[in-house]
Amino acid sequence: MIVKFNKLFFSQLMLLIITSIFLSGCQHQKIYKMQANLSISIKEIEKIPFRVGLYIDPELMNYSMRSRYIPGIIHLGESLSKGAENIVSKAFKETVIIYTKDPELIPKGLDALVIPEIDKIYVFGEEGGIGSYTTVIVKIKWSIIDKNGKILYINTFTGEEKYRRPTTIFSMFPRLCEGSTKATEDHFTKAFIGITSTNWWGAIKRETN
């Protein structure tokens, strides 16, 4: 078979080679561990008079996020569990951290169990063109159940951080890390306000006494 090298074929081949080199260069994996002490802007309030167990799920504790377009991993697990501990201890009179839901192993005398579960953590619009927006979304479902497993409170809070796509490929990952941190902080602020803003626990406390 005779291959005729004309100018057009050559230019296409060059483009393919350059693109391949460029893409393979992007495969270096970056790792970012989100800070454990997040800046969550919450006011001091009169605490809910419950002694609660905060259940930290292994999925929450070890959660990592991968970008679909930037080779890198963001470890959020520690921030998520510390953030949950931070807001729950500020919302309730007494908080005990537990790592099991087994009734036999849960400390006695708790009024309720607080369970944060990851619904979805993702990035939207990352593939957008220059000038477009990227949004990091942190969605966590919060359930509060009584000692008999009955639901007392359920809500899902969404933390978001929207930012303009950086102009250089080198600033994309740091910007994503910053966006993830802010979205996580936003989530915890909303969750704290949501859980403490209504007197959902009033009638239940009276009933259990």
Partner: protein, 221 residues
């Protein structure tokens, strides 16, 4: 040679610049009594609003969901009961089809699972476009056009998915003075089938007594 590079650059730029994803604005929610289908029981007010119209679907979800077999129904809740809180869970919602439209074993349709909604996908023509670019020179411009079209379709689907996710009804407890709203997505065969819904059923569970309130909205007169 120069002309070819120019064409490729323009084509590539068009694809990149076109990849701007946006989410439709939130649906404005009215007070419950202002909806056509509205009921109140023990201070709990619930309204349902099925979105059939192409224009409303386009404005709210960036696409005609009925063409994907999805009927979105907006559920609006206000708790005016001074004492009770209620649990609203998607598992408690369903739609009943008209008798003639019922399948043999199923006369109630339950909401679509989130996983199913998240997997809406467009089987793109991108690969045809790419193969055209590295293929014969004559296919370069049509290849670029196909790639651009495929990229646009992928973006449309991503926008629809994001709208579905953001506007979905979230399971939650609604305590005195609180309100809540969101879309529940039901599977329908097509636009015509969506017109044959007889009723929408919504259940709410009282906390902590577990007493159930059932709201039945007759959609067809």
């Amino acid at each position: 040679m120069k002309r070819i590079i120019k064409v490729m650059l323009i084509g590539f730029s068009l694809i990149i610049m076109g990849c701007s994803l946006a989410v439709s604005p939130d649906v404005a929610v009215k007070p419950v009594p202002q909806y056509k289908f509205y009921q109140e029981q023990e201070g709990l007010r619930i309204a349902v609003d099925p979105f059939y119209e192409k224009e409303r679907l386009q404005n709210s979800f960036s696409g005609d969901l009925l063409s994907f077999g999805i009927l979105p129904i907006l559920i609006v809740i206000e708790n005016h009961n001074p004492k009770s809180g209620y649990l609203l869970d998607r598992k408690f919602f369903s739609i009943a089809m008209e008798a003639s439209q019922q399948t043999s074993d199923k006369d109630l349709a339950v909401p679509m699972p989130q996983k199913e909604i998240d997997t809406l996908k467009y089987t793109g023509l991108g690969i045809v476009g790419v193969s055209s670019i590295i293929g014969p020179p004559i296919m370069l411009i049509p290849g670029m056009a196909v790639m651009g079209y495929a990229a646009k379709k992928e973006i449309d689907i991503k926008e629809i998915n994001e709208n579905l996710s953001r506007k979905a009804f979230i399971d939650r407890t609604v305590y005195p003075g609180e309100s809540h709203s969101g879309f529940v997505y039901f599977p329908v065969r097509d636009r015509e089938a969506s017109q044959n819904i007889a009723a929408v059923l919504v259940k709410a569970k009282d906390i902590p007594s577990d007493k159930e309130l059932t709201f039945v909205f007759q959609i067809k007169n």
